[in-house]
Amino acid sequence: MLEVKSVTRMFGQKAAVDRASFRIDGPAFVGIIGRSGAGKSTFLRMMNRLVDASSGEILVDGCNVLALKGREARAWQSQCAMIFQQFNLVPRMDVASNVLHGILNRRSTLQTMFNHWPRADILRALEILDRLGIAEQAPKRAEALSGGQQQRVAIARALMQDPRIILADEPIASLDPMNAQVVMDTLKRINVEDGRMVIANLHTLDTARRYCDRVIGMRDGRIVFDGTPDQLSTGVARDIYGADASFNESATSTAIPADAAADKDWAAQMLA
């Protein structure tokens, strides 16, 4: 379904993404991990055509989306939704309008200027908001919502596009652990229930292990790891992040600990 063939993006002399190639068959949940500046964001932006690639091809059902121009490129963008770290909603507009922006590609500029949306589409937007559990927020301004709610509005906008692929660029990086879990659960649900492919840049390994069917590791623009979450051992993670033996992922983990080791230690100490 999706085939990436040696995609490269140069910024000056430096390659942000260097001959990245992989293939995804079927609607998988794919996580891309790597440290800051590894080229994860640039790659997703190239897929959504926010950034042009320097060379290479991305084939979706045999069509090279990197070669599309103008109207066709915008049509591709409407099939390939993007979710951003900072939500990128229109803050002064209400939540339902922000969701309706998902179908802008089908609307003319004139219809947009007169704020004319078909009734069926408005009802669908409200339905999507209801599915994500924020229907009661529909008339509020987007800026009045909390970060987690705003990110769910952004996901609703993505669903409004009825996309084949959802790209998520660090969707939980600016959220607290509770909201992060809600957002990731939502993305997983869309992946499983709707059968849409999700490609997410993640910066916590435990999230990648928990939600992804497949993990791709990037370092300095190259793909250095491509496998299942089980194969993502601490040793591999050290290689991906270019860290030494002092690297300890639990030090920065945002997962709420499920084990009771600390409690046991405390009990032993008190009993002694």
Binding site: L50, A73, S78, N88, G102, L104, T112
Partner: protein
């Protein structure tokens, strides 16, 4: 005021171990530079004034007492005919409305042109980034030509009347507002625009939904300010044959004695109009920028 730091004997050097001495020295030096600049400024002013005086037809000092003579004459005549003033106000009201209409239509057209031009000339937002200098220079050009010049040229082509005035003021407004609008748009947050790009929105949709809601309060505030300026501009254009209250003012002034009451009424009407617009725009701007008061 001037504190001379040089003299027959070399002064004691500031001791770096004593920071307060060094600071006092610094203050003294600053004061001296300030004094020298002041002397140069006064000398330039005096010599410039003398040059202007020598080229002047009359004499400034002997003409000075006459400065108040004309207004005094105008006001005393107006005062003598004060009973007719309400009738004059009614007589000039239609031409005042014409002047305001010219200004309003010109401001509206100029603002619409400025919206498009400013977005096309803003880095990061432009539809064709390579054409940014073209639109910038276009706005510079529109701003550089005074309204009255455009109006005079258009009167030759189209004849007198409100249409040339509207075109002349709208062109100038487009250039002036375009620059201000572009500066506001430069500071707009690009995140919503990026979000809209990612769903496949056209440039027009991105600007309309992503940029304009952010910049609208500031843009409207600049437009209201411009409307006030344009009422004055529209009155001035009446002098060169565009109709409106400026035309009446010109006739009344040319007539000289006997019509000074009309001059006073026209000035009063203009003053009131501009004060009124200023009050309205002040309130509207406050509401737009700070939000509606509960």
């Amino acid at each position: 005021m001037v504190d001379i730091a040089f003299g027959p004997e070399p002064e004691k050097r500031p001791d770096p171990a004593q920071p307060s001495d060094a600071y006092l020295e610094l203050t003294r030096r600053r004061r001296m530079y300030g004094g020298i600049l002041m002397v140069i400024f006064v000398a330039l002013m005096v010599s410039g004034f003398q040059l202007a005086q020598s080229r002047n037809a009359g004499d400034f000092l002997s003409g000075l007492p006459m400065l108040m003579a004309f207004p005094a004459e105008v006001l005393s005549e107006a005062w003598a005919n004060r009973a007719e003033m309400p009738a004059l106000v009614l007589r000039f009201l239609p031409s005042l409305i014409e002047t305001i209409n010219i200004a309003a239509v010109a401001t509206l057209l100029g603002a619409i042109a400025a919206m498009t031009m400013s977005l096309l000339a803003t880095r990061g937002l432009a539809r064709w980034p390579r054409a940014i200098p073209v639109f910038r220079r276009l706005m510079d050009g529109l701003r550089a030509i005074p309204e009255i010049v455009i109006a005079l040229v258009l009167i030759f082509i189209l004849g007198g009347g409100p249409v040339p005035a509207v075109i002349a003021i709208a062109l100038h407004t487009g250039g002036a507002l375009g620059k201000l609008f572009s500066e506001v748009a430069e500071n707009a947050d690009l995140k919503p625009v990026e979000g809209l790009t990612s769903v496949g929105a056209t440039w027009g949709q991105r600007m309309w939904l992503g940029v304009i809601p952010q910049v609208a309060p500031n843009w409207l505030s600049y437009t209201l300010l411009r409307f006030e300026i344009n009422v004055r501009a529209s009155a001035i254009l009446g002098f060169v044959g565009e109709g409106g209250i400026g035309h009446d003012l010109k006739i009344a002034l040319q007539w000289g004695q006997g019509r000074y009451d009309e001059v006073v009424v026209i000035f009063l009407l203009l003053l009131l109009t501009i004060t009124f617009i200023d009050r309205i725009s002040d309130r509207a701007r406050e509401r737009l920028v700070k939000g509606r008061r509960p």
